[in-house]
């Protein structure tokens, strides 16, 4: 990795200015004239003027779109003919790179691509290429336990040339068999977030219905994509998550900061926690489903807080707090045994950016800071993920490289640290994405 640029900013700007010299006004006039001329020709031959839609044109466009949809469907058909060979690994860390989904050996850092579109990725582009345009994996969900252990769910979005990015669909990947399935389609036009129930039977879809100023929709389908229920809200549902038994969904209202739960197949919406001045973010069920933890920030006190409450919101109490408001979503995350809670905090303070990871007992005792990157201008990090045995925490981090004074950041990487803060190690150079530390199902005899 090169750490010192041979070309200075001034040299680069000088070169770009030369390439992009301000054009002759006549040239700009010619461009306008030619654009208008071609636009009129399109209008004459195709009627492609917005607002003018002859029936014949619509029929032609519909046929073309159908053909295009078919081509895209074929292009996106995933082939994973053989079970994934994880060797003797008992668990892997799932993440994504520019080419698809990857599995990382937590202790050697070895990486294995476990899913990618049919078309090969054009390294080093940072997005996946799918036929007519680049795409990227937008969000990940995972089945954490149960009979379908090892079932991943994820959504894929595509950036078509000249169009907004669109969700292509939801997919599942069974780590045991390597089988990939595409669910019928996302139930929400602009899907933001997906989750999969612990038994692998239900998929949660959420996102804007229509434009980003319309209603926000939650929808639950079975594993085949058949709709079970859906509901609309007038504000975004922040990180909705299934309870372990999939009977309830927990989410925070993005604008109001109120913590909600939905039960009874979408029939009952209850306010779980609401306190004036507190904006709740990132609620998470405990592994046994009897409690919940959530992050909140207090605008008045300028504090970031972690709370724990019963599953119905009762007995809520604050177990940790830190100065400054949370800049991004970073937990809290329960340990597999439900005894500990890990959370990350990235915030901007007058003294500089800060990223830190804490572990605290679910009762508020024994708080330990296990990672700190303080007072730099550029600090980034990811949500922590617990190892299946609850001994380790994985997270992504990248901090300002101390060798340079201009704020350059070092290569982002995957880090591991023990629950007590010991054993900090950098495992692999990977981009900072959501990490899921997934136990692997026993291999077939």
């Amino acid at each position: 990795m090169s750490h010192q640029f041979r070309s200075s900013d001034e040299q680069l700007e000088q070169m770009l200015r030369a390439r992009a010299a301000v054009p002759d006004p006549q040239l700009l006039g010619d461009i306008v004239a030619m654009t208008e001329h071609r636009r009129q020709r399109r209008s004459l031959f195709g009627g492609l003027v917005p607002g003018q839609r002859p029936v014949l044109l619509l029929a032609t466009v519909a046929l073309l779109l159908a053909a295009l949809a078919g081509a895209i469907a074929v292009g996106l058909r995933l082939i994973l003919p053989e079970p994934i060979d994880f060797g003797d690994l008992e668990s892997v860390i799932i993440s994504r790179d520019e080419c698809g989904l990857i599995a990382i050996d937590p202790f050697s850092g070895e990486q294995l691509t476990i899913w990618q579109p049919e078309d090969p990725c054009e390294v080093p582009r940072r997005v996946v290429t799918i036929r007519s345009g680049p795409a990227r994996i937008y969000e990940l969900g995972i089945a954490a336990a149960g009979s379908h252990d090892g079932l991943l769910a994820y959504s894929v979005s595509r950036h078509e040339p000249g169009q907004e990015s669109d969700l292509i669909g939801l997919w599942t990947l069974d780590l045991a068999s390597g089988r990939v399935r595409q669910l019928s389609e996302c139930q929400v036009p602009l899907c933001h977030y997906t989750d999969i129930s612990a038994d692998g039977g239900r998929i949660l879809h959420s996102g804007w219905e229509g434009t980003a100023e319309g209603v926000y929709r939650l929808a639950v389908t079975d594993i085949d994509g058949s709709l079970i229920w859906s509901g609309d809200f007038d504000e975004p549902a922040y990180e909705p998550r299934f309870s372990p038994d999939a009977e309830a969904i927990l989410f925070a209202g993005y604008r109001t900061g109120v913590l909600y739960a939905i039960r009874g197949d979408g029939e009952v919406l209850t306010t779980v926690f609401e306190q004036p001045g507190l904006f709740v973010r990132s609620g998470n069920w405990s592994p046994d489903g009897r409690r919940m933890a959530f992050a909140a920030f207090d605008e008045g006190a300028d504090e970031f807080q972690i709370w724990v409450a019963d599953a119905d919101g009762g007995s809520a109490r604050q177990i940790a707090r830190r100065e400054g408001r949370q800049a991004e979503r970073h937990g809290p995350v329960w340990s597999p045994d439900g005894e500990w809670i890990a959370f990350a905090r990235r915030t901007d303070l007058p003294s500089g950016g800060m990223f830190e990871i804490w572990v605290v007992g679910a009762d508020g005792s024994g708080a330990v800071q296990v990672y700190e990157d303080c007072c730099q201008r550029n600090t980034v990090g990811s949500l922590p993920a617990w190892s299946p045995d609850g001994e380790w925490i994985a997270f992504g981090a990248s901090r300002e490289d101390p060798r340079f004074s201009d704020g350059r950041i070092e290569t982002p990487g995957l880090y591991l640290v023990r629950r007590d803060g010991s054993g900090l190690r950098r495992v692999a150079d990977v981009s900072i994405q959501p990490f899921l530390w997934q136990p692997l199902p026993p291999s077939e005899p």
């Binding site: 070169m15 040239l27 461009i31 940072r126």
Partner: protein, 190 residues
Amino acid sequence: VQERIIPDVDSSDLPSTFAAAHQRQLIERAADGDREAFAQLVETRLERTFRTAAAILGNEADARDATQEAFLSAWTNLPRLRDAASFDAWLGRVLANKCRDLLRRRHRSREIAFEDLSETGQTDAGLSTSALNAAFEALSVEHRYLIVLHHLHHEPVAAIAERLGIPEGTAKWRLYQARQALERALEVEA
């Protein structure tokens, strides 16, 4: 075309909130097929769009074509744009795609067309301008676009992040990667 009670004004004279609203109305009118509204959108963006294309492509003729194609595509696809506020980000993506298409079609990835870029020109630090140009031409369009936004148009990282719809940290990292790619290409040129 539906009539609207919106005066045609120079948005540069308006306070920012009103200017944004005016731009939004222009975009909505253009999406409805109002040619005058679209012409106003083009007029205020033409020079920057052309300079962006020229910087990416390094060739005036290609830049002119990419600019035309981008605006034509915008005119045709504007009704499909869901959020008027994202028009400029969307137009930027359209332009980048047109630049990429042009490069693929014409295989000019190493061509230096501007006459004022002397083969023996030196920058202040002695780095050959032709080498810097050649290195830049070796980059992907995505990397070129990022570098142009930041180093030519002086867009801060936060603005680039908003334009690309990605977190600021990601934008900073991508920009850093683009710059690293340029350095690697420079090493090859050297």
